[in-house]
Every structure is written in C-alpha cells, then in structure tokens.
Symmetry: C2
Subunit: 138 residues, 2 copies
DNA sequence: ATAGATGCAAAGGGTTTGCACTTGA
DNA sequence: TCAAGTGCAAACCCTTTGCATCTAT
C-alpha cells in the first residue's frame, strides 16, 4: 500500500490546488514549491500510482502531452489555450452525439475539445514566440 | 518546388487509397506495396512537405500519434477504434457547442472524438494483447 | 548540372526503468 | 526492520536531422 511521503503529498496538493488538469512538468513545478528537491521521475511514478489508486484521471489531448486531474468530477470536457497551453475544465456536454455514429460501429466513449484563447490570453493573444519560459509548457 | 519521385507518389497513393486518416507507420506499410525500399524518414519528410503544400492535413488524437488525411474535406470529426487502432472519418457535427464556452474565453476551433469499436471489431472486440503485429499501430 | 529527395544512422525530446540509497510504517 | 519510495542516469520510443548519395528536371 502507498506511503505518505512528502513528495507524494506535495504532488497531490499540486493537483488539488490547481483546479485544472496539470501536465507532469506543471505538477513538478507546482509540487517543488512544497518539496524543492523533487525529481520528474517521482512525479511520473506518483501519477501512475494515483491512476491505479483511482484518485487521478488522465486527460489526453491531441498533439500534446497528457494532463491529469482529480477523479470523481461529473461529466465534462476541456478547453486548451493555444497561447499559454493551459487546459481548463468546461462544464456540460453537447447534443446529438448519437446521430454521428456510423452504423456497425459501437461507441463507448467520447471527447469534446475546444481550442482558442483562455480568459487570460484572449484580450491580447500572446505570440507563441513571446511566451515566457515559466509559462511555457511541454 | 517538389519533385515527382516514386517514393512521394507511393506515399500520396497510400493516402488516396486508404480513405481514412493514416499514421506514419501505416502510410509506410501501405506505400511500401508500391515502393519496397521506402524508409520511414522519407515518409515523415513527405508528410511534412505535403502539409506545407496543403494537400494533407494532420489529425491529432489524444494519447496517440498523429494521423494524416487528404485536405479539402468538409467539416467532420473522427472515430478511434480501441481494438485495431484505426481512425475513421465521421460526417457531421454536434450542436450546442457554443453554450459550453466559458465567458471570457475565445474559441477558434473544436474537436469531437468518438471511441469504441469499428465495424470490423465491434462484433467480437479483439483483446489488445491479441492484436497481430501487422495490425498493431504505433 | 544541380537543387531537391532519399536512406541510413545518429540525435532529440518526453516518458519509463534499473539501481543503489533513503524513509515511512 | 525492510519494502515502498526516491533521485539519478541510462534506456526507450517516436520523430527529426546530418550527411553522403542519388535523381528528376
């Protein structure tokens, strides 16, 4: 069974505080505020363990590394900011999904992804070249 | 300007015949039927060139490598088979996307992805462990 | 003739793993 | 105590790139 190490506690805290899905590098940066020497391998292992323990779920995105968020939320989708790279949760779902299903296919699951500029980036979209190093995501 | 090499012709043919988005490895396998010695680097370079020439577009998928399909199709989305890994085009779109947008956010684009079992895999879903080497995708 | 394209192999970037050391229960 | 967890570095996988060679134009 899992141990309450300082590292894993810092990592869990990072996800709880974030309020949005985090990439491993984002989780590392956030968790290092609570535990400075933290290594990236530990973050990956903690995420893997958390997925198995069930309190974290993967948010996989087209063309970008996976993010992870706390489990247990109700059905929702995600918004991916093209400027800062952050991913946000969006409530609700769409309609008429069922009519899209080709005959003979069996659908078990779906994703809806919105792309654009988040509330911080929308007013004056940041050119990707000018993103500061601290805001740049993997 | 681009040259009409045998390799690029074989690669283009692969996309035209497929009728669905292909991953680089799938395109390689298909194009090798027309040009045996083809190398994967050439496929990647041909895809990159085709994207710039505009006759191919990327289909990026959560948690999977990108696929590519012929450009110029009308608005559509994709289905990703969990058994064989193939990606299929699905016609149409959903409704009420707009109501999902959080205030202050600007949406430029969206994706809808369906997951499940394609018409070949739906009747008796293949366990991922038993996928044959030739059907396994990257 | 010559710039573009190819194939091989080596380099990159993100993720995973082996190993010796540390630490929580 | 001692297995789980950690940090480092090496291994991995997919993708890109350097380089010598080839080839369409």
């Amino acid at each position: 069974m899992p141990r309450n190490t300082k590292q894993r506690h810092a990592i869990r805290l990072a996800f709880e505080i974030a309020g949005r899905p985090l990439a491993p590098e984002e989780a590392l940066a956030a968790a290092r505020r609570a535990h400075a020497g933290l290594g990236i391998a530990t973050v990956y292992r903690a995420i893997k363990a958390a997925l198995e323990e069930g309190w974290l779920v993967a948010v996989e995105l087209p063309g970008s590394s996976a993010r992870y968020e706390l489990a247990g939320k109700k059905h929702h989708h995600h918004f991916h900011c093209r400027a800062c790279g952050k991913v946000f949760e969006i409530a609700g779902c769409v309609e008429n999904l069922r009519k899209l299903i080709p005959s003979g296919f069996r659908v078990t699951d779906h994703d809806v992804l919105l792309y654009g500029y988040c509330c911080d980036c929308a007013p004056a979209p940041i050119a990707s070249d000018s993103i500061s190093a601290t805001d740049r995501l993997p």
